[in-house]
């Protein structure tokens, strides 16, 4: 028999009372799904051109990655209002429908476009950091309007550190490292995902998102859950999270760059052999 009680024994602050705004929710869903349609069309076109359905698989994987949202919500204190919410699924709490296209775009679509870019072998660390900046902007373009219309909110015991327009900046690193790691793995170890292992790509966006979110977010997640923590503790947690995120991005840039150089040398050698032949 299922019984509901009103007490919680883990330290979890109470979110503000909010109602899901109907019109912004509908608008967000329409806009986001239109972007998804564009990504699907692009992936289908790539499939026809190259014979590889990888783009579609990654988009599906981005959708599956939404299963990490409830974990992020409870760890990073994200509140999706319940009254009036179009619920897509519920585990630790209900997850709104607009989240699904957002994850397809961010963890599937953007990852795929980035992978295609890397495979052109013109990668440089400078281009990488420009790409990261573009990803940060994409994240802000999605989140700031949604936060403005109160489709969700970040909360805590006190004030959430590093917040601009209701968006805590450490989430840029929590959100960005996952798709970049996903891309780096597919770029550097493509031979692994062949045969029966090709099916694993479907789960790669979720696994890398969940892993990076935990690794980067752990300091600030812990700090946010300390009742009555002074501001310096939450800010210190936020800074350490940003530092870990930066270090991971830097490491991934070096890994991708070294693999790019190796691939370039292999391509040059192949060209030379072809000329000699």
């Amino acid at each position: 028999m299922t019984m509901f009680q009103s007490k919680a024994q883990f330290n979890i602050p109470t979110p503000p009372q909010m109602v899901f705004p109907r019109t912004p929710q509908t608008v967000a869903e329409i806009v986001l799904w239109m972007v998804v349609v564009a990504f699907v069309a692009f992936a289908v076109r790539q499939w026809r051109r190259t014979g590889s359905p990888l783009g579609l698989v990654l988009l599906a994987g981005g959708g599956i990655a939404l299963f990490n949202e409830p974990l992020d919500d409870i760890l990073g204190l994200v509140h999706h209002p319940r009254p009036g919410q179009d619920v897509v699924f519920e585990t630790m709490g209900p997850i709104p429908h607009w989240g699904l296209p957002t994850y397809i775009i961010f963890f599937g679509g953007i990852a795929y476009v980035l992978l295609l870019e890397l495979r052109r072998l013109i990668f440089t660390p400078r281009a990488f950091w420009i790409g990261i900046a573009i990803t940060f902007v994409a994240d802000l373009l999605i989140e700031l309007p949604l936060l403005h219309f109160r489709l969700y909110t970040y909360f805590g015991y006190g004030q959430v550190p590093m917040s601009i327009g209701g968006f805590p900046l450490y989430w840029l690193f929590i959100n960005t490292t996952g798709p970049i790691l996903c891309v780096a793995i597919l770029f550097a170890a493509p031979g692994y995902f062949t045969g029966w292992r090709a099916a694993l790509v479907l789960f790669l966006p979720l696994v890398t998102d969940a892993g990076c979110s935990a690794a980067v977010g752990l300091p600030v997640y812990n700090a946010l859950h300390v009742p009555g923590a002074p501001a310096w503790v939450t800010w210190a947690g936020a800074f350490v999270s940003c530092a870990i995120g930066l270090a991971i991005l830097d490491a991934l840039a070096r890994w991708i760059y070294s693999h790019t150089l190796k691939m370039r040398r292999a391509a040059e050698l192949a060209d030379q052999l072809q000329e000699q032949g």
Binding site: M1, T2, M3, F4, Q5, S6, K7, A8, Q9, F10, N11, I12, T14, P15, F67, N68, P70, L71, D73, I74, L75, H79, E90, T91, M92, G93, I185, A189, Y192, R197, L200, F203, L206, V207, T208, A210, G211, C212, S213, A214, A215, V216, L218, P219, Y221, N222, A223, H225, V226, I244, A247, I248, A251, S258
Partner: protein, 272 residues
């Protein structure tokens, strides 16, 4: 089964449980002995090889204890609060005895695996290391669970002696992943970059546990019927094994390449 109806729908934690004093003392002392053993080994490494890697990784193992409260909330682990010698209180209070096992398992074990990787290992031998991690995990958890100083609650499937078996893969990915990372990065973490080392066990443990554990963590906290947690446990084990397989394939390739380099007497080990 009871649930907490709030912003998050979490199963109710076991109420009114008390930390058994004798068992707590025994576990804490046993863990202290293990930590002391690894500390002696770390000092020996500093004296003999001038390497501070193990010492910094042991500190990192302690820092990685910040992942325990996260695992507790997501994976439904309960440490009795009454009479507890508390090491940390963020999401929840976590006991001192656990600090020792984190130092050994997430700081010390990766170093032992790394030493083995540097000597050159095959895929089979690396799976053997997964076996070692499994034995260590089970050997620590089963007796301590029997003593009642912590428990897995909720409707956790696949339990033997109160230990849900999917935790074996959740726990194994972090230490193996760290060893592979250290092998792959060669001498990157030397000089001032050695300061990264204390943070790596925490990052690898947190990443491994949430990346592998998300299916069962989600299922345990959902109001799902019986087959769902079992399927989620199977998916967790599958993701864990696939992640270990990916790490092992990569590590075995690097280990073989480094062995070939040594065989031809090259002065520098290449980074792959």
């Amino acid at each position: 089964m009871s649930w907490v109806r709030g912003h998050f729908d979490l199963p109710v934690t076991p109420d009114g449980t008390q930390m058994p004093p004798a068992a707590q003392l025994v576990a804490t002392v046993a863990m202290a002995v293990l930590v002391a053993g690894f500390t002696v080994y770390a000092v020996r490494e500093i004296v003999r090889s001038r390497s501070v890697t193990l010492a910094l990784l042991l500190i990192g193992g302690a820092i990685s204890y910040f992942n325990e409260p996260i695992d507790d909330v997501l994976g439904l682990v309960w440490h009795p609060v009454v009479g507890q010698w508390t090491a940390l209180d963020t999401f929840a209070r976590v006991p001192l005895w656990g600090l020792g096992i984190y130092i050994v398992f997430f700081g010390g074990m990766p170093y032992l695996i790394l030493q083995s990787l540097r000597r050159g290992v095959t895929r089979g031998q690396l799976w053997g290391w997964v076996g070692v991690l499994t034995v260590v995990d089970v050997a620590v958890e089963l007796p301590i669970l029997a003593s009642g100083i912590y428990r897995y609650y909720g409707d956790a499937p696949l339990q033997i002696g109160g230990f849900p078996l999917y935790w074996i893969v959740i726990n194994a990915v972090g230490p193996l992943g760290l060893a592979v990372l250290l092998l792959a990065t060669g001498d990157t973490f030397s000089g001032w970059r050695a300061l990264y080392l204390p943070f790596l066990p925490m990052m690898c443990d947190a990443a491994g546990s949430v990346a592998v554990g998300w299916p069962i963590f989600s299922a345990l906290n959902a109001h799902a019927s019986a087959p769902v947690p079992w399927l989620a446990a199977a998916l967790t084990i599958a993701i864990g094994l696939a992640t270990l397989d990916l790490l092992i394939a990569y590590a075995a390739r690097m280990s073989a390449a480094q062995e070939r380099t040594r065989a031809v007497g090259a002065p520098h080990v290449p980074q792959l």
